[in-house]
């Protein structure tokens, strides 16, 4: 594990000295800021309309704007999940592909480091990177808790906010695991990023496919959909099945990465 942590530290050090990581972090910050401000403006507009005409005269779906957690934070987490889908492949693409391109990967395999340490080290490095990127989004609920107000004092339901943030991190960890495996298959970073996105996007949208199918396939596809598993969490409901599902995807991706690294010895 010590070796894995050393590799992770090296990965993080390298990442934070390359423009790619900053580009991805800036993109995440800029996009999520833009959506945060838009959601905030919309929230204010609906609240102002409600003060003028009363909630009963507004469309039924306006009810989410009664509360800052529902009206801004839950929706913001939904947006951040989508942005992560685009940003994570850029962060994961270089984990193995870059080493392969620079021919240092073969060198790494000749060192007395076990493939499992290499995989775990790379993954932990990637995880650190995505967590830093996503960590910036926590600033928005903090801002809201300062400027908003509620009858019981706190403007936000912090358990819901933090569970939603946990869902975002879990999603980021899953994206990195899938991205790590695909990065281990190619030496082209662009191809790795593209393939990661190509795998994650339909997987995320599986719920839409499930809706047009009949039972029991519908339940099966819904269960497999990232979107379905994350929706409950960002709204404040923690389910054991979601944790098991994401842990399974991460574990299986790491296993496949491990086999892909091992396969290099036979190539």
């Amino acid at each position: 594990m010590r070796t894995a942590l050393a590799i992770a530290r090296k990965e993080l050090a390298v990442a934070f000295t390359t423009p790619w990581a900053y580009a991805a972090i800036t993109a995440m910050a800029a996009l999520s800021s833009f959506f945060f401000v838009s959601l905030l403006e919309q929230f204010q507009q609906v609240q102002s309309l409600a003060r003028e005409h009363g909630w009963s005269r507004l469309p039924p779906d306006s009810v989410v704007y009664r509360n800052l957690t529902d009206g801004v934070v839950v929706q913001l987490w939904g947006v951040v999940l989508i942005i992560t889908l685009f940003v994570a492949p850029f962060l994961s693409m270089r984990l193995f592909a870059e080493e392969k391109r620079q021919k240092t990967f073969a060198l790494l395999l000749t060192t007395p480091v076990r493939p499992v340490d290499i995989v775990l080290g790379k993954y932990l490095g990637g995880l650190g990177l995505i967590f830093v990127t996503l960590g910036l989004t926590l600033v928005f609920p903090v801002v809201l808790s300062v400027v908003g107000s509620g009858p019981s004092g706190s403007a936000l339901e912090w358990p819901t906010v933090l569970l939603g943030y946990g869902a975002v991190l879990l999603w980021g960890a899953t994206c990195m695991a899938v991205g790590l495996f695909i990065s281990a298959l190619t030496e082209s970073q662009v191809l790795a990023a593209f393939l990661t996105f190509t795998v994650l996007l339909p997987w995320m949208l599986l719920r839409g496919v499930a809706q047009s199918t009949a039972e029991p396939l519908r339940s099966f596809l819904s269960y497999l959909s990232f979107d379905t598993q994350l929706q409950g969490m960002i709204q404040g409901v923690l389910e054991a099945q979601a944790l098991v599902f994401f842990a399974s995807v991460i574990l299986f991706s790491l296993l496949l990465t491990h086999r892909a690294v091992e396969a290099q010895r036979y190539a």
Binding site: T17, T26, V37, L40, L136, L163, V237, F252, Y266
Partner: protein, 519 residues
């Protein structure tokens, strides 16, 4: 091109065909033949590759690679199997924790209590297509009920377009949806139907379904009422009796002659088209029955007299002499009224929602008395009206047009009355309920297939008999919170969030990159 090159390409395509056949079966075409064909063709192409490359595959290096490949496939499949098993277990034994402050994604305590009190298994069948907008929401609701009481609450979804037998059974039209809640097992299990329900409706349905099991419905006889068991070739109420049994009631005939009171186990009493006068002791028994909080459904007919006028007047209902007629809202005959003029009443709300027209041939109308004759505490309400063009024809055999002296305007064809009986001696229920319908022939077997009328009767029966305590759940919601930012504050926030914040990060990145580049 050499044969081995061709078979290599074939092998690659074969692998693709084999691996993609489940997608063909489950996602794209749904055809077993097509998916099977792809799998067989793929396997054959793969076999062709193995046969033509057997020497190559047999070499030492390839054997080592093959061994690695085999061990990798086995390990991967083994881990995948274990993970699938774990996920199946997690799905079946899922645990959920609602971390919202108001527990807005949890069942109300009343629902949990109702589920805990269920003595027989309840089954929900949702006839809802998977593409329906409320499908996910309903599924989530049913899942919560099932998780709260897995032993007694079960549910299933059926696409009505794919199950024509069920669509016919529940008389669903194209695009309609329905949720059937049954108590117990099997086709004959008592059930009730609901439009797409929220938690409150579903829990109330479970409560009502549990309550009907003990309710006896007595059909009075001895005065020419329609019989539950009709004589051969005669008219009767066989279909109504079957429907009541399906819904968990126990219909039985009752002759009040020689009895001092209506049996104590009566959940409801029905007078279905009496043609002769009730005797004074019988009327007294009925009066006592309602006075103790009884429930009565009264169906009358044109040209009949049953001697119940004063008794009904106690509850604010006076039966008009003659036959209701309508020159505009009829089915070709002014005495066959067609109406969709509903009062604001629980009995007719579902009919109104589904856009039904009720049809009443040769119906009598009622005058509602709100003061004077009626007993203290009685509330009387109209349930179904005729159109405003109607009149009461006093000589239907001679005349089909309104004449002077005849009552004109919108007539009440169905009325309901209730009275608080909590203080009554030998109280049966807290409230007496009476529904009076100006037509009894809609109960007969040949007319029972007319859906709107059947719904009217069953809703009236439900309203009158199901005086179980209904729960009223407040739709859960998060606490209201507000945000009041001035235009200046908003501008500052916009600048800091969308400008300063990302640019600072980009600046840090550039500085790090440039400093490393210049090293």
């Amino acid at each position: 091109m050499r044969a081995t090159h061709v078979t290599r390409v074939l092998g690659a395509f074969g692998l693709l065909l084999l691996l993609s056949s489940p997608f063909t079966l489950f996602l794209t075409s749904g055809s077993v033949a097509l998916a099977g064909g792809k799998a067989v063709l793929g396997a054959a192409m793969l076999a062709a590759y193995v046969v033509t490359h057997r020497r190559e595959l047999g070499r030492e290096g390839t054997r080592r690679t093959g061994r690695f490949l085999a061990s990798s496939v086995l390990t991967t499949l083994g881990v995948l199997g274990a993970l699938v098993a774990l996920n199946v277990l997690a799905f079946r034994k899922n645990q959920r924790w609602d971390l919202t402050r108001e527990r807005i994604f949890s069942l109300a305590p009343q629902t949990v209590q109702t589920l805990a009190g269920l003595k027989e298994k309840a089954h929900v069948l949702a006839l809802v297509p998977p593409t329906h907008a409320s499908y996910g929401e309903l599924e989530e609701l049913f899942r919560r009920y099932h998780e709260a009481a897995p032993e007694v609450f079960d549910y299933a979804f059926v696409d009505p377009r794919r199950e024509p037998s069920l669509t016919a059974k529940y008389q669903l039209k194209e695009g309609q949806t329905l949720v059937v809640v049954s108590r117990g097992e099997g086709d004959a299990a008592p059930h009730t139907t609901l439009p797409l329900p929220a938690e409150q409706e579903l829990t109330n349905a479970l409560i009502q379904l549990s309550a009907t099991g003990a309710q006896k419905v007595y059909f009075l006889e001895g005065h020419g009422e329609w019989p539950l068991e009709p004589p051969p070739g005669g008219d009767g109420l066989t279909e109504l009796r079957r429907q009541l049994q399906r819904e968990g009631y126990r219909p039985e005939p009752l002759n009040l002659l020689g009895r001092e009171e209506v049996p104590r186990d009566a959940g409801l009493v029905i007078i279905a088209g009496a043609k002769q006068d009730y005797s004074a002791p019988e009327v007294a028994a009925l009066r006592t029955y309602l006075g103790e909080g009884g429930r009565l459904l009264y169906f009358t007919d044109a040209n009949t007299d049953d001697g119940l006028g004063l008794f009904l007047a106690d509850y604010g209902v006076q039966v008009d002499e003659g036959v209701a007629a309508d020159p505009k809202f009829n089915s070709g005959n002014p005495f066959v009224l067609v109406s969709n003029f509903y009062g604001k009443h629980a009995i007719t709300r579902p009919l109104q929602e589904r856009g039904f027209n009720v049809q009443l041939p040769t119906a009598r109308s009622f005058t509602l008395i709100r003061e004077g004759f009626l007993l203290p505490g009685v509330t009387v309400e109209p349930v179904l009206f005729s159109s405003p063009y109607a009149w009461v024809e006093s000589r239907p055999l001679e005349d089909t047009t309104p004449s002077s002296g005849e009552k004109m305007g919108q007539l009440t064809l169905v009325a309901s009355a209730s009275r608080d009986t909590r203080a009554a001696e030998h109280k049966r229920f807290d409230e007496a309920r009476l529904v009076a319908v100006g037509e009894s022939e809609l109960l007969l077997d040949p007319n029972w297939r007319y859906e709107a009328n059947r719904n009217l009767v069953m809703n009236a029966l439900g309203w009158a008999s199901l005086q179980v305590e209904k729960i009223t759940l407040r739709p859960p919601d998060r606490e209201t919170s507000t945000l009041e930012l001035s235009e200046d504050q908003m501008r500052t926030l916009r600048f800091v969030s969308t400008d300063l914040f990302p640019l600072s990060l980009l600046g840090v990145g550039l500085a790090v990159w440039l400093s490393r580049r210049n090293r």
